[in-house]
C-alpha cells in the first residue's frame, strides 16, 4: 500500500465523519500495489444506509472535498455503494483487489 499512515488515518476519519461510523473504505487501484508508482487515490466506500440520490451526492461531494483538502491536491476517485444496490464490476474489483483501511 502506497499511502502514508497519516493519509490512511485522514481517509478513515473523513469517511466515518461523512458517511457514519459504520461506513467501510477500501483503497484499490495502483496505490494499493507496492510495485507501482504514483497514480490516483482510488477509494471504494460501502455506506451503511441507502440515502436518496440527492443526499448521496451531497455526502459524496462533502467526502470528496474533505479528502482533497486533507490529502492535498492529488487526484482522488471515490466510488460508493449502498446496501441492496446491484454490484457493478468495479465494486467487486475494489473489494477483491483493494485493501480495507
Amino acid at each position: 500500500m502506497r499511502i502514508s499512515p497519516e493519509q490512511r488515518e485522514a481517509i478513515r476519519r473523513t469517511v466515518r465523519e461523512v458517511f457514519g461510523p459504520e461506513a467501510r473504505v477500501w483503497l484499490f487501484g495502483s496505490r494499493a500495489r507496492d510495485e507501482l508508482r504514483g497514480g490516483d487515490i482510488d477509494l471504494y466506500v460501502e455506506l451503511p444506509q441507502a440515502p436518496d440520490l440527492h443526499a448521496r451526492l451531497d455526502l459524496e461531494a462533502r467526502a470528496w472535498l474533505a479528502l482533497q483538502r486533507r490529502l492535498g491536491e492529488r487526484r482522488i476517485d471515490l466510488v460508493t455503494r449502498v446496501p441492496g444496490e446491484t454490484e457493478r464490476p468495479i465494486d467487486r474489483i475494489a473489494r477483491e483487489t483493494g485493501i480495507e483501511l
Binding site: 436518496d52 440520490l53 440527492h54 451526492l57 451531497d58 461531494a61 472535498l65 491536491e73 446491484t86
Partner: protein, 166 residues
C-alpha cells in the same frame, strides 16, 4: 497580442460558448418532461427519449463550459494565473466571488455526471433520480452564467455581453 487582450479574447470566446449551451439548455427545460416512474421512463416514446437525451447533453455541456473554461477565463481577466490552479482552487474562488452558492453544491452536481453518462440498465430508478437531480440543478447553471456576466460588466466594463437565459 498583449496579455490583457488575450485574456479578454479568451473570456469572450468562453462566454459565447457557455451562452450557446445555456440557450439550448433553457430551450430543453421548456420542452423536457420526465415520466412519473422508472417504468414509464423505460417505456417512453422516441420523442420523449430524444428530448431527455438533448437535455442531458446540454446540461453536461454547460457544466463543462463553465467549469473548464469560463471560470478560468474570468480569473485570467482578474489577473490570476489559472494554469496554476486546480479545479478545486477555481471552485473556491468562484464561491468567494459569489458565482456559485457553494463548492459543495457544485461538486455534488459534478458527481451527477457519471450517473447521467452511463446507463445502468439494471437500475432504471437511478436514471430517473439522476434526471430529476439534473433538472433541479439546471437553473443553478443558468444563474451562475448570469452572475459571471454581471461581474464581467461591473468589474471589467464588458457591458455588450448578451444576457444569459433565465
Amino acid at each position: 497580442m498583449p496579455a490583457d487582450e488575450r485574456s479578454l479574447a479568451w473570456f469572450r470566446a468562453a462566454y459565447g460558448e457557455a451562452l450557446r449551451s445555456a440557450q439550448a439548455l433553457a430551450e430543453s427545460l421548456r420542452r423536457v418532461e420526465l415520466p412519473a416512474s422508472a417504468g414509464a421512463l423505460e417505456a417512453a416514446d422516441a420523442g420523449t427519449r430524444e428530448r431527455i437525451d438533448a437535455f442531458v447533453l446540454r446540461f453536461l455541456r454547460l457544466q463543462d463550459a463553465i467549469g473548464r473554461q469560463l471560470f478560468r477565463a474570468l480569473l485570467a481577466l482578474e489577473q490570476e494565473e489559472p494554469a496554476q490552479l486546480t479545479q478545486l482552487d477555481v471552485l473556491d474562488r468562484a464561491e468567494r466571488m459569489g458565482l456559485v452558492p457553494s463548492v459543495e453544491r457544485s461538486t455534488s452536481l459534478r458527481r451527477l455526471r457519471n450517473l447521467l453518462t452511463h446507463e445502468y440498465p439494471e437500475r432504471p430508478e437511478l436514471r430517473l433520480e439522476a434526471l430529476r437531480e439534473a433538472l433541479a440543478g439546471a437553473p443553478l447553471l443558468l444563474e451562475t452564467l448570469a452572475r459571471v456576466r454581471e461581474r464581467a460588466i461591473h468589474r471589467h466594463g464588458l457591458d455588450d455581453l448578451p444576457p444569459a437565459p433565465a
